[in-house]
Symmetry: C2
Subunit: 333 residues, 2 copies
């Protein structure tokens, strides 16, 4: 009998197929293997082919010169613009404002061919330090309400360039799904006076069923009502609603955790495309007792069928318990 | 400057790119052209290769024999099962129930090679009569709370078989996005004492900017905060929350309207894959003053990027006004 499970945070229902559970080898996917290319605008020596950099971590050289290990540049085709007023307006019963915001690209490494999973631990941690540095800077702008920090890996996951990179989009509004999480976790807090994410971690540690691995700072788990096969969450043990206030030792550890997650996925699913996104509280609000930042990682293995975008209702052919067990058993050198 | 627009029903924000608006020819997509195949389980003569039919429209023959023009069968690999109790349970802070429900396939025509857009008007109307007949039957089951009626056209849109077909999934819960629409339209109703869909139609008829065409019974429009390029809504002019109570003349007209929409999309976008879904009120509730059933159609032209599934926040590269104008100007023989 299939299982209908409710996500305790959003109230979203998911069908978990139990009868014909699909294992990693049952999925067809596009293996992400970089081809290389002489004309990559993100490769060292081509710094003039991107807009001027916003910041960089570098051992040598000046701005927009080689010598960097990580580089942040404005997106050349930004979805939003930094300049201008919001100019909020009604148009009859509709509401609109100017698309004010920021759209930045984090070039994760000078090396075109090495994926995030294959980079040294410190390089992966640097990506998370760069996310933090940029959010700390962007939140000074009172027009901005939310920063989405995410990575698309592979063309099937939406990456248009293969050189390893992540993105930031800073918005003057809070996206719907984030608001839904905030509302759901607030409802729980009003009822129990505890953070739902903290409670989830406590319960998961008791059953161990959906935990992939843990460190002093993080739990990696397959969520109870996972929407997608091998969906994983990286949750910090210590309560904190705002990613931007995460302390350096925790971010160092996050580098190791993320790299370990990606290496396990690479081994289990043969270098799958994936999306990763940091879920964090909105800007311009203080620390929240009811919300808890975390990272969600979703290998791109299945096509979304029609009713899923239309209804927010998902069918997941791989129970999270099986995904967690499979990934737990993956040994890494 | 990009436009940030708020969907008046759900509160969802969408970036509408205005500077480099993308026209139909700017999109790459998989043209949906049936290849044919001797072993199709949906073709006449192969009735034994599907589970026994639930209903059929037929000119001759008995159940599970050729002679039908439309046939409804259980999905051979159903996401949900008809038998059994819901057996609702808590598991610590989690909630689950048995995956009780129905998953049915509507085979739209005996003809493998003819797409819905190419079928006679009456055949398209028959699909909508079949949706109505099945919902009327399924809503007798008190365990069921919602029926999702949808079509995936083409592999890129999630169709696993090419013979023209649609699907129904009957659920014991109301999906999140549907609840979000219900909640949003209720909020509007509480404020204005009018249906928001009726108000939207009135405003759209005044500006005409986003209307593709209209009939006595329907408005076809590109929604103000369209998430996807060439997203279209078919909205009945007369207020009605429940698709299953739609009267025969209106459904006949819906056949013509749907066929016209699909033929315009086929011409504009070269036979694109698409998803279509009927949005209707939950089962087991009376008529709702604040909700209004409608059909949403989304050509599958862009890949969803990482942040879109994670945040419910969309970037649409084609303003709905341009999509509507383009489709208005498409002449059909």
């Amino acid at each position: 009998m299939p299982d209908l499970r409710k996500d305790p945070i959003t109230g979203r229902w998911v069908i978990i197929a139990t009868d014909r559970a699909r294992r990693p080898t049952d999925f067809t996917r596009e293996r992400v293997v970089p081809q290389g290319g002489r004309h990559c605008p993100f490769c060292p020596g081509h710094e003039k082919n991107t807009p001027p950099e916003i910041m960089a971590y570098r051992g040598s050289g000046g701005p927009n010169e080689p010598g960097w290990s990580l580089r942040v540049v404005p997106n050349k085709f930004p979805a939003l613009r930094v300049e201008g007023d919001l100019d909020k307006q009604g148009q009859g019963l509709y509401d609109r404002m100017n698309g004010v915001g920021a759209h930045e690209v984090i070039i994760e490494s000078p090396d075109h061919m090495t994926s995030l999973a294959e980079m040294p631990e410190k390089q992966v941690a640097d990506l998370f330090f760069a996310f933090r540095d940029r959010i700390v800077d962007l939140q000074k702008d009172p027009r901005l309400r939310y920063v989405m920090a995410f990575k698309n890996h592979g063309a099937a996951a939406g990456a248009s360039l293969e050189h390893p990179h992540s993105q930031l989009i800073a918005l003057p509004v809070v996206p719907n799904r984030v608001q839904e999480e905030l509302d759901g976790s607030l409802r729980y807090f009003q009822f129990r006076e505890r953070c739902i994410f903290c409670d989830i971690m406590q319960q998961e540690l008791q059953t161990q069923e959906r935990i992939v691995f843990e460190t002093d700072h993080f739990l990696v788990l397959a969520p109870y009502a996972a929407r997608f096969p091998f969906e994983l969450w990286i949750v910090p043990r210590k309560h904190n609603s705002r990613y931007a206030t995460t302390e350096a030792p925790v971010i160092h550890n996050l580098g190791w955790v993320m790299r370990t997650v990606l290496r396990k996925l690479d081994k289990a699913l043969e270098q799958p495309p994936y999306n990763a996104i940091i879920h964090t509280a909105p800007l311009q609000v203080g620390p929240l007792e009811h919300y808890h930042w975390h990272v969600e990682i979703i290998p791109k293995l299945t096509k979304l069928a029609g009713f899923e975008w239309g209804t927010g209702f998902y069918i997941n052919p791989t129970p999270p318990e099986e995904a967690a067990r499979f990934l737990r058993d993956i040994g890494l050198p």
